[in-house]
Amino acid sequence: MGAVRAIHKWFGLIVGLQMTIWMLSGFAMAALNMGQVRGADRIDGGPPPQIERGVAGLDILRPAFEGAVAVTLRPGPDASVYQVDGREGVALHRAADASAYAITGERAMEVARNDYAGPGRPVAAERLDAPFLELRKHEGPVWRVDIDDARSTTLYVDALTGAVLERRNDIWRVFDVFWMLHTMDYVGRDNFNNPLVIIAGLAALWLALSGFLMLFSSFRGRDFDLISAVRRWRGETVPCTVRAPGAEACTVRLAPGLSYFDALSKTGLDLPSNCGGAGTCGQCVLELAPSRSPDKADLEHLSPAEIAGGMRLGCRHRVRAGTDLTLPEGVLDDAPVSGQVCGVRYLAPFIKELRIRLDAPLGRAPMPGQYMQLAIPAGDVRPDASDVPECWRPRWSALGPVAVAAEGTSLRRSYSMAAAPHENPRELVMNIRIVPPAKDGAPWGRGSAYAFGLRAGDPVSLHGPYGRFGPSEDARSLVLIGGGSGMAPLRSIIRHEYSPSGRRRPILLFYGARTEDDILYRDEFDRLQIEQGAFEWVVALSDTEVSPCWTGARGFIHEVARAELSDGRRDLQSAEFLLCGPPALISASRSMVEGLGISRDAIRTEDFGV
C-alpha cells in the first residue's frame, strides 16, 4: 500500500492545484444557468415571417445563379431573399427581382431585433472580421450588434447570410474564463486536445486512481462503528488515566470508538502529527500497555524495543475505558494558568474558601473531584491572621505566636476544586486549611501559609487540572466519607451529581469535624438534604468537650459510618466509596469499609489537600 500512497502524495503535489482548478471551474460552470450562458432565454421563439409572394422566377434565376450548388428561398431581415450557395461562397439576392441584397449595419440591427427578446434594444452594429475570441468558430465578415441590456448582450450576425452566429453576454464571458481554465487552452480557449491538458489529465488520472485504491485501505471498521458514533453523539465518554513526564496523573474522559489520537485531540491534547491520523508519519507516539497488539503502522515506525515497552501510534488504537496511557513530553500542557483571587471568606476557624477568577478558561475541562496545583513563590511567607473573625480568635490564640514560614524555593500545593466544573468555567473554588506548626516555635507550613494569606485582588498562578478521584460510571450509589477540608472534592462531586449534567445517584455523605464551628457548608447540605431525596448526610463531632447543644452523632466519623452502614438497610454492593480527608481518617475508613465486605475496587481515596 506504501507505493500507492506515495503515488497519491507526489501526484497530489504535481497536479493537485490543477485538480482544484478543474473542480472549481467545473463547479462554476455547473452553477451557471446554461440557457443564460448561451443567451437562449432571450431568443424570440416566434415563427419567421411568411415567404413573400411574387418572387423572381426561373427565367431570372437560371442565368443569374448558373453553377450554384443550392438556392434557398427564405425570409431575410426586411424582405424575402434567395440565398445562393456557390462553390466560392454564399451570397444573398432579393427574392423579388434577384438583385444583390447586402447585409448592411441597419439590416444586421434588424436581424438582432427579430432574434432578441429581452429588456434591451440593439444600439450599435460594428463590422468585424472573424475569427476573434468571442467568435472563434467562424470565419468571414460579421456584424457585432450591441444590445443595451444589463448583461451586455452582443449578437454576432453573419455579414453574408444575415444568420445569427452567436449570442454572447457577460454570463457567457464569465463562463468562458472558467472554460479556459478547464480546457487549459489559455490562448484559443477551445482546443482541449492541447498537450498541456493531456499531460495534466494523465497525471490527474494517476492521482485519482491511486486515491480510489486508497479508499479501500483508509477506512477501518471503527469508521463505521455506529454504536460508538451514537454514544459520542450523546456525549458519552469513558475515563482513562493519562500520565506525562513532569505532570501529575489525571483522569481524562475520552470519546468512545475514536482513536487515541482523535479522542485526545477532542480534549485539547494534540499529539504531534504530520498526517493527521493516517498512520503514515509515525509521530503520534504514546505509551499504552505492552499487551496491546501492535498495528502494521506501529511495526513500521517503532523499534522492537519501543513496541515491547508499550509504545504505540495513537492513531492506530481505539479508546478503551480505564486505559492507562503515558503521553510524550509537551503534550499534556503543564503551562501555568493565571488568575486573580476574587473572593475570600472563612468557612471555619482554620479553613477559608478561596475563589479565583481565571484569566482564561482551563484548556482541559476539569472533572468533579479533580484538583489544581497552586504555585507557591519562593521566599518568606508570614501567615496572616489579621482577618480572623472575632468569635474564632480564641482558637487562634491557643496556637501560640504566628511565626514566619521558613524561606524556601518555589513549590506547588494541590488543592481540590470545591465547586462543580460546570458552574463557572472561569472561576475556581478551593478550601484552604492553614497547617499550624506541629510543635511550638516550629515554622508554619509555607504552602498553606501563602494560600491562607491571599487576599482579593492578589494574582495567582496554577497548574492543572489533575487527579483521578471521582465516581465511576458503573456505581449505582455513592458513599462519601470525609473530614476537614477533605470536603472540597466531595462537594464538587455532590454538586455535579445533582446538576442537570449529573446522574442524580443516591449519595450518603459522612463528614467528620472537630466542633460545630468546623462543619463546612453546613446550611448548604442541610438544604440539599431537604431538596434532594437522594441525598443524605451525617455529621459527627470528634471533640466531646465543646458544642454542648449538639444533638447529632459524636465520635470518629468512621465509627459513626460503620454503625449506620452495617444496619443492613442499604445495598452496599452496588455502592462506591469515596474517601477524602486526613490520612488517619482515610486509613481508618478504608479498614472499616473493607470490614463490611466491600471489594477494594469499590473504594477510591484522595489523601492530600487536607
Binding site: P48, Q283, E287
Partner: protein, 235 residues
C-alpha cells in the same frame, strides 16, 4: 482539531462519497482530450467530392409555386438530391418535391438513400444495414432529431452510421464508436444520464461542489505531507 486532522478526515470522507465520480471525471477527461476533436466529429468519414451544381435545364417547377403550396415553410431549398434537382421544404411541415415534375418524393426511398450514402462516405466500407426510423423516441445518439430518419450503418471497427432525413433527404449527422465513447465520457462528465446534454442539473452542482471541497482539503494535505518531518521524542 488540528488543521491536518481536519484535512485528513474531510478529504477521506468526502472522497468516499465523490471518489468514484472523481475517477470517472479524470478517465473521461483523458479520453476527451487525447482523441482529436475533428476525429470525434467524424470529418474523416466524409468523401471530399464537391457538391453537384444545380442542373438548371431540368428544373421545371417555379420556386414561387412551391412557396405558394407550402405557406408555412421557413425555407425552400433547391438543390441536387440523388442526381436530380429537388426542392427541400423545411418548417413545421417538411417535404422533398421534385423540381422536374412537382411531385412529392418524400419519404425518400431506400435505394436513393443507399446511393447518397455511398457517395457521401469516404472509403469503400460496405453498407451493413439501412433502416427507416419512422416514429417513436429516436436513438440516444440522435435524440433531438425529428423523425422519420434513415439510418445507414457501415462496416468497420468504428461502426460508422450516417443519418438522413426521410422527409427532405438532407444529411443530418454521422456517428461512430469514437464519437459514442466521447458521448459516454461527456455524459459521465456532466452527470446527465438521461439526455447527456443538460449541464443545469443539481446532481452535477452538488457533486462539483463536493469535488471542489475534496480538492481543497487534498491541497491542505499536500501542504502537511511535505512539511518538515519532526519525529516525536518518545518518552
Amino acid at each position: 482539531m488540528k488543521p491536518v486532522t481536519f484535512f485528513r478526515k474531510t478529504h477521506k470522507w468526502a472522497m468516499l462519497v465523490i471518489g468514484v465520480q472523481a475517477v470517472l471525471w479524470t478517465l473521461g477527461g483523458v479520453y476527451m482530450t487525447v482523441i482529436p476533436l475533428p476525429v470525434i466529429h467524424g470529418n474523416h468519414l466524409m468523401a471530399e467530392t464537391p457538391p453537384a451544381a444545380i442542373d438548371w435545364a431540368r428544373v421545371e417547377i417555379e420556386p414561387g409555386l412551391v412557396a405558394l403550396a407550402n405557406p408555412t415553410a421557413h425555407a425552400i431549398r433547391l438543390t441536387m438530391v440523388d442526381g436530380a434537382p429537388a426542392y427541400q421544404v423545411t418548417g413545421p411541415r417538411q417535404a422533398l418535391i421534385s423540381a422536374e415534375t412537382g411531385q412529392v418524393i418524400s419519404p425518400v426511398r431506400e435505394d436513393a438513400i443507399r446511393r447518397m450514402a455511398r457517395a457521401d462516405f469516404a472509403g469503400d466500407a460496405e453498407i451493413r444495414a439501412v433502416t427507416l426510423l419512422e416514429t417513436g423516441p429516436m436513438p440516444q445518439e440522435i435524440l433531438s432529431t425529428r423523425p422519420p430518419v434513415w439510418r445507414v450503418d457501415f462496416e468497420g471497427w468504428n461502426e460508422p452510421t450516417f443519418y438522413y432525413s426521410a422527409e427532405t433527404g438532407r444529411f443530418l449527422s454521422r456517428r461512430h464508436n469514437l464519437w459514442r465513447g466521447f458521448d459516454i465520457a461527456w455524459m459521465l462528465h456532466i452527470m446527465d444520464y438521461d439526455e447527456r446534454a443538460d449541464m443545469d442539473n443539481w446532481l452535477l452542482r452538488i457533486a462539483t461542489a463536493l469535488g471542489l471541497f475534496s480538492a481543497i482539503t487534498g491541497m491542505g494535505l499536500v501542504f502537511y505531507s511535505f512539511a518538515r518531518r519532526r519525529r516525536a521524542e518518545a518518552a
